[in-house]
């Protein structure tokens, strides 16, 4: 009799628990999604309260391509075009190149001047609230979003947080991992002679690119002054100083991620260079000597530039072109739904 009572009690408890779950936000069972970066990439840090799942990634993807995200028709994919590695050919507001959306999952500093920090969720919170100024009333009155956020996040009222979390889910999956260089690292491709010579220049003291464009992420995600300017006439040229107001941060910018760099039309924070040839020439002979020039760039014999020959410059550029990932720019899982 006692045993029967215990079983009955357990059944009632289980039933009550299930019912409670069902009442609590119409949550559907979400499908866990495993993000698989290449084995040689650093471990990805994912917040425990935003574990990837198929449904939320899809929702973030919808938002990424949805002009309803703002009240003036702006949305992520408007400037971040997939065929260009999620950047675009024009400068944003004719002021700065659009930073590519690639491998953001490993970043903790964002924007040219490092003005945003934290997780992808933090960045996306800034994007929806401050950049796009998403109209929550409008979003909450879109039946599809209302229903999806209710099902996936269990909320009756969508806030910036849920918008940011959904967008972080999608952007975290945007991983470029099939470039020729990636395949080379996996032993699945070989470089031409010029590319290999360029790789040596990149990864030795000759070019010394690797200290900031670290392998394999191709950016250390930190702020550096690379001697672009000796006078900071424009506010934007002051870089990280605009964030910290510390003179040592004058002219410092976040290391650009070089994945798909050959697809870009503008380089540096103000788009002053229009080709990889111009960029390499700047490092070869155009750097300004400023007091807070990155210590790495004060190497003896290199303070006036890398002094590469024409052939070496060509080889370095050939190597930079191996960072182009044709899969990334055509992968339909990143395209509009």
């Amino acid at each position: 009799m006692k045993r029967f009572g215990l079983i009955l009690f357990l059944i009632v408890v289980c039933f009550a628990a299930c019912k409670k779950s069902s009442d609590n936000g119409n949550l559907i069972k979400l499908t866990p999604y495993k993000i698989v970066p290449p084995a040689f990439y650093p471990d990805m840090v994912i917040p425990s309260d935003n574990e990837p799942c198929v449904e939320k990634i899809k929702l973030g993807r919808m938002l990424y391509y949805d002009p309803q995200l703002s009240n003036d028709g702006r949305y992520c994919a408007q400037c971040h075009l997939q065929q260009l590695g999620f950047t675009q050919t024009d400068m944003y507001l004719n002021v700065m190149p659009v930073l590519p959306h690639v491998n953001l999952a490993w970043y903790t500093n964002y924007m040219w001047d490092g003005s945003q920090k934290g997780s992808l969720e933090d960045l996306m919170f800034f994007e929806v609230k401050d950049f796009f100024k998403a109209d929550l009333n409008k979003i909450n009155n879109i039946p599809q979003y209302k229903s999806l956020f209710k099902s996936y996040f269990g909320v009756d009222k969508i806030t910036y947080k849920e918008l940011a979390y959904a967008m972080a889910q999608f952007t975290r999956t945007m991983i470029s991992k099939n470039s020729k260089y990636d395949k080379y690292l996996l032993g699945e491709a070989s470089l031409t002679n010029d590319e290999e010579e360029g790789r040596k220049i990149f990864f030795t003291e000759k070019g010394d690119c690797f200290h900031c464009h670290t392998n394999p992420m191709l950016s250390d995600n930190l702020m550096h002054n690379t001697g672009l300017d000796s006078l900071y006439n424009k506010e934007a040229d002051k870089g990280h100083y605009n964030v910290t107001k510390n003179n040592l941060d004058l002219g410092k910018f976040r290391t650009a991620n070089l994945h798909n760099v050959a697809l870009r039309s503008y380089f540096m924070h103000d788009g002053r260079y229009k080709s990889l040839e111009e960029v390499v020439e700047f490092y070869n002979s155009g750097m300004r000597k400023v007091s807070n020039l990155d210590p790495i760039m004060t190497k003896p014999g290199k303070v006036n530039g890398l002094k590469l020959s024409d052939q070496e410059k060509y080889q370095l550029i050939q190597f930079l072109k191996t960072f182009t990932d044709n899969t990334y720019i055509s992968d339909t899982s990143f395209s509009a739904l």
């Binding site: 990864f203 030795t204 392998n215 807070n292 020039l293």
Partner: protein, 266 residues
């Protein structure tokens, strides 16, 4: 009779078991607190009451490291600031009677910008130790590309395969200025890496006891100035000395100086 014959064996077994039980090593926890300091020159100005002359006196004081401030001063009078100080600590070994008794398996990445750097070593056999040794860097057998977990920190510390592979053992970067030669402020990058360039250090305590149930604390205090002091007085104001990577002679000098980098106390 047969049973009597077995009795001594049984007694021996009993004693051997008891002995083994007494010798079961107990373990303790050691916490290594790591802090970073640099030398700051203080100038004292006083007025001589008899002659009314201004007397300028200087003294050196060790101050907790504050990054990005050009206030610290080397032995040779060069002022410096630090922008980056990252390194690995490994091969932490506890010695007893000149024998390596226990070597911790860990290789720990230290970023001096983090204020609360500490290492917890568990399962250290209890008892007294008369020496603790360590490496600033990574031993040759583990300084291999991909050996460490692929965290952002470890990946950013990789030493290019074209230059031998493995990891940077230390990156110390900043700016320096020599007020007497009036050179403009310039950068320095003291990078060491490659097998054979890890800095070895040792600490000989009078009696360092690891007690079970206690967190036994050892303090590692780095004086940044030591990297440039002894046995190799290292001037940044010599052409080329501001950059070490790939220059084995300079890396060797820095590595040798690194043996004094930590002041260790309980």
């Amino acid at each position: 009779m047969k049973k009597l014959f077995l009795a001594p064996i049984f007694i021996m077994l009993l004693f051997s078991c008891a002995k083994e039980q007494n010798e079961l090593p107990l373990n303790g926890t050691v916490r290594i607190n790591i802090s970073h300091y640099a030398e700051y020159r203080l100038t004292h100005k006083t007025l001589d009451p008899n002659t009314n002359e201004l007397i300028i006196d200087t003294s050196t004081s060790l101050k907790p490291l504050v990054f990005d401030t050009l206030i610290y001063e080397k032995t040779l009078g060069e002022k410096f600031s630090l922008y980056k100080l990252e390194y690995y600590l490994s091969n932490i070994t506890f010695w007893r009677n000149d024998k390596a008794y226990y070597t911790a398996d860990t290789i720990v990445y230290i970023n001096a910008r983090d204020i609360n750097n500490s290492i917890i070593l568990s399962y250290i056999p209890t008892g007294s130790y008369d020496k603790v040794t360590y490496l600033i860097g990574i031993g040759s057998n583990r300084n291999i590309h991909g050996y460490l977990p692929a965290t952002n920190d470890n990946v950013n510390m990789e030493w290019p395969s074209s230059m031998g592979g493995g990891y940077h053992f230390m990156k110390m970067e900043g700016y320096w200025k020599n007020n007497t030669t009036h050179k403009i402020q310039s950068g320095f990058a003291m990078h060491i890496g490659s097998n054979g360039y890890a800095a070895y250090g040792e600490y000989r305590p009078m009696n360092f006891k690891v007690i079970s149930g206690n967190v036994n604390v050892v303090n590692f205090r780095m004086n940044v100035n030591e990297w440039w002091r002894s046995p190799n007085l290292y001037s940044l104001d010599i052409n080329g000395n501001n950059y070490t990577m790939g220059d084995t002679a300079k890396m060797r000098q820095i590595k040798e100086n690194g043996m004094n980098a930590f002041d260790i106390y309980q």
